[in-house]
């Protein structure tokens, strides 16, 4: 840790860890309900466990993003944060928002609109938190007068994410119009501005972990961002196929969303070749696993499995089946969970002394168990989904009868989900195992390398 105020990141990460653990409890509960019968039918029915599962996901990932940004911006701009107090105030407000939202969902207090279930007061608090956050980050950069492309991409991504949340605050009389704008938030987040955020973290990590040249890395970062938006913006149309909008969205969706994986291939090559060409220049190989893992798993979960059902002629059979859940899990995990875990793994050794720089063996167990578990979950959803599409959509078997025939895949889901959860449990344990101690290190011990000009401090050995 090179700046004292970076320590706020620890508390954001800690909150993210707890919420991540809770998310899985509700995921496993939901999966168990597929097997049924459900003894909790009138206490905690599926709709409640599922809404909590997905909302905790969004909240913990955003908490992680914010923490990671508070970690990264001082490093990039070489300064203390503008206001530590504001950062804590924001965390408290944000956490209260998250916790009360979850408690509310237990009583079905929510908007009942997929992934945007937050009640209006909560949505307003979310916006306030985002404004506090962006203000704090903006002022930090402004006052430092030092602004790198990497953090620029990150901060612009975060700012646009806040802007794209605004349509979710409105009410729409026409259900089709509501769907139309729901995707401005959801799709343009995960296949647009969040990819900028991921790209920003990825570039930061690669620059710090490898000896890659910043100029080259930032040039390619721009190229990736360009590729994301060429395809991703018009690619929104892959959610407009069967919802009551004009038919021209069909070919547009097919063409542009099929181009989306290009940026993801780019990202994977970017990460791989940075490491290939420049080699490791930092001891934290665990963070490297998470970093490369994120680039590769995104390509698999979002690129390959997204492409698998993105053409209208395929999507008309798979739309609204477990095939979507297959892709949703692998994509979200690879792109946004793994990049957050990468930032956490990178930052932790300098905030919790006693931890090994390379990562502990528990850390590696956690990595491989999560990866294996998530791969297994993806396969379970995929096989269940293929069965569902064939029986229900093609043969015309009734929904309930088709679900009975794919029970075995749900058993598989619970088993692989449990393996995954063990991996996450180990990560959380490893996180809290060492007490935090925030000591500013001036580059004597191993820590993040200074950025381009080795003027400020001497690089570690």
């Amino acid at each position: 840790m090179r700046y004292r105020s970076q320590s706020v990141a620890y508390w954001y990460f800690a909150v993210a860890m707890v919420l991540f653990g809770l998310q899985l409890v509700f995921g496993l509960l939901s999966a168990a309900k597929y097997l049924g019968p459900d003894p909790l039918l009138y206490i905690l029915p599926f709709d409640v466990t599922k809404v909590i599962h997905t909302n905790l996901l969004i909240v913990w990932v955003l908490t992680g993003f914010m923490g990671a940004t508070y970690w990264m911006v001082p490093d990039e701009s070489r300064t203390e944060l503008y206001s530590v107090k504001l950062a804590y105030l924001q965390l408290v407000l944000w956490t209260l928002m998250g916790v009360t939202a979850v408690v509310g969902y237990l009583f079905r207090y929510g908007t009942g609109n997929k992934l945007l279930e937050q009640p209006l007061p909560h949505k307003i608090v979310i916006v306030i938190c985002m404004l506090l956050f962006l203000f704090n980050i903006g002022m930090t950069i402004w006052k430092s007068k030092r602004f790198t492309t990497t953090e620029g991409v990150l901060v612009l991504g975060l700012g646009l994410a806040a802007v794209l949340y605004l349509p979710a605050l409105l009410e729409y009389e026409n259900y089709t119009v509501a769907i139309f704008y729901r995707w401005w938030t959801i799709h343009l987040w995960v296949e647009g501005v969040w990819e900028m955020i991921q790209g920003g973290f990825l570039a930061y990590l690669l620059i710090r972990l490898s000896g890659a040249d910043r100029e080259v890395m930032e040039k390619w970062l721009y190229v990736i961002v360009g590729l994301v938006f060429i395809a991703g913006i018009l690619g929104t149309a892959h959610h407009y196929y069967w919802v009551g909008v004009p038919a021209y969205w069909l070919p547009i969706g097919g063409i542009f969303s099929a181009l989306e994986p290009v940026a993801l291939v780019g990202m994977a090559i970017y990460a791989y070749s940075a490491m290939r060409r420049s080699g490791m220049s930092h001891p934290n190989t665990l963070a490297l696993h998470w970093t490369l893992g994120s680039a590769v798993f995104t390509l698999f979960g979002a690129g390959l499995l997204g492409l698998a059902h993105t053409f209208p002629d395929v999507n008309k059979w798979t739309h609204g089946t477990l095939i979507t859940a297959m892709h949703g899990h692998a994509a979200f995990y690879g792109a946004y969970a793994m990049i957050t875990l990468a930032m956490i793994s990178f930052a932790m050794p300098s905030m919790t002394p006693g931890r090994s720089e390379q990562g502990s063996s528990i850390g590696y167990w956690s990595f491989w168990l999560q990866l294996g578990g998530m791969f297994g979950m993806t396969l379970s959803f995929a096989t269940a989904g293929i069965g569902q599409v064939y029986l229900e959509r093609i043969l015309g078997m009734g929904y309930l009868d088709a679900q009975l025939k794919i029970q075995v895949h749900f058993v598989m889901l619970v088993v692989t989900g449990s393996i995954f959860a063990i991996g996450v449990g180990l990560f959380i344990y490893d996180f809290f195992r060492y007490a935090p101690r925030f000591e500013v290190d001036d580059g004597q011990t191993a820590g993040p390398r200074p950025a381009t000009k080795p003027v400020v401090t001497a690089a570690h050995a």
Partner: protein, 281 residues
């Protein structure tokens, strides 16, 4: 390419894509009213939409294929089930399905009558939105489908599991009728679809209750029934009493439909079947 050019590429492609997207958005707004029959969004439909949101329906079901995958898609449900069926179902789903058999059951939602009626109006509006003809084949809630899994398998597969409560005692007659429709020998569903215009060996029964009403009242009706329900009963028991013309369905005054239901089905079952068909208004 240098860094400046790369930046230009990023900004330029974003701006172009955004402009194209906004242009198409404006054009879509021009077309929404027609595609979604916006003139039919009555206060009841809007209230029904609010009910849909209030009870978090979307976190089990899908509508237009969006939502959760724990319960069936409801985009076209209002065309598969009559309003009366849906109302009875929403009062108490456990009267229609057996959690022991399907391992899932929709929890009872304690909806008011107004909420239920408006929800049905909303679902009816949804089912009529022009959505590129999706789904390509009807998505059904239950039934064994056609093809290799065959209709006959439906009957075989439907024996209640050991330990299941005796069928029927607490079920609504409409729900029981739906089972008879699928499981009578031979199954009604083998020849009759419930989708408008989908003629199989027998005519589609979509809207059959309304048609029965019209037929009974018409001058050239040849049977003995006095009201729609009696007419449906007659059609089940004595298919040839009055026939809707069409060489596809009858010859020399004798319907192709089996005349065996009168003796094979118990009077109870026939009552249930009539109650079920009467929901297709």
């Amino acid at each position: 390419m240098n860094k400046r050019q790369a930046r230009l590429f990023a900004i330029g492609s974003t701006v172009i894509a955004t402009l194209a997207f906004l242009g198409l958005t404006i054009d879509s707004h021009r077309q929404f009213p027609k595609l979604t029959n916006a003139q039919n969004i009555t206060p009841a439909v809007t209230h029904g939409k609010d009910v849909w949101h209030k009870y978090n329906c979307i976190n089990c079901h899908t509508l237009f294929g969006e939502g959760a995958y724990y319960a069936p898609d409801l985009t076209k449900i209002a065309q598969h089930r009559g309003a009366e069926y849906l109302k009875a179902y929403m009062k108490d789903p456990s009267k229609f399905y057996d959690e022991q058999r399907h391992r899932r059951l929709m929890p009872k939602q304690d909806l008011t009558d107004v909420e239920i009626a408006d929800l049905v109006s909303f679902l009816d509006w949804v089912s009529k939105v022009d959505n590129q003809g999706w789904p390509p084949r009807p998505i059904l809630v239950t039934g064994a489908g056609v093809g290799p899994m065959g209709v006959l398998q439906a009957a075989a597969g439907s024996a209640p599991p050991p330990g299941a409560p005796p069928a029927g005692a607490d079920k609504s007659p409409i729900a029981l009728g739906e089972v008879v429709f699928r499981e009578a020998m031979p199954a009604c569903a083998a020849c009759h679809s419930l989708l408008p215009g989908a003629q199989m060996a027998g005519p589609s029964l979509a809207g059959v209750a309304t048609r029965a009403q019209e037929t009974v009242g018409s001058a050239d009706y040849t049977g003995d029934a006095k009201d729609a329900a009696a007419y449906l009963r007659e059609s089940i028991v004595q298919p040839s009493a009055h026939m809707i013309t069409g060489a596809m369905y009858s010859a020399s005054g004798v319907s192709f439909m089996p005349a065996t239901y009168g003796k094979d089905l118990t009077p109870d079952k026939i009552d249930h079947l009539v109650a079920y068909l009467m929901t297709f208004k």
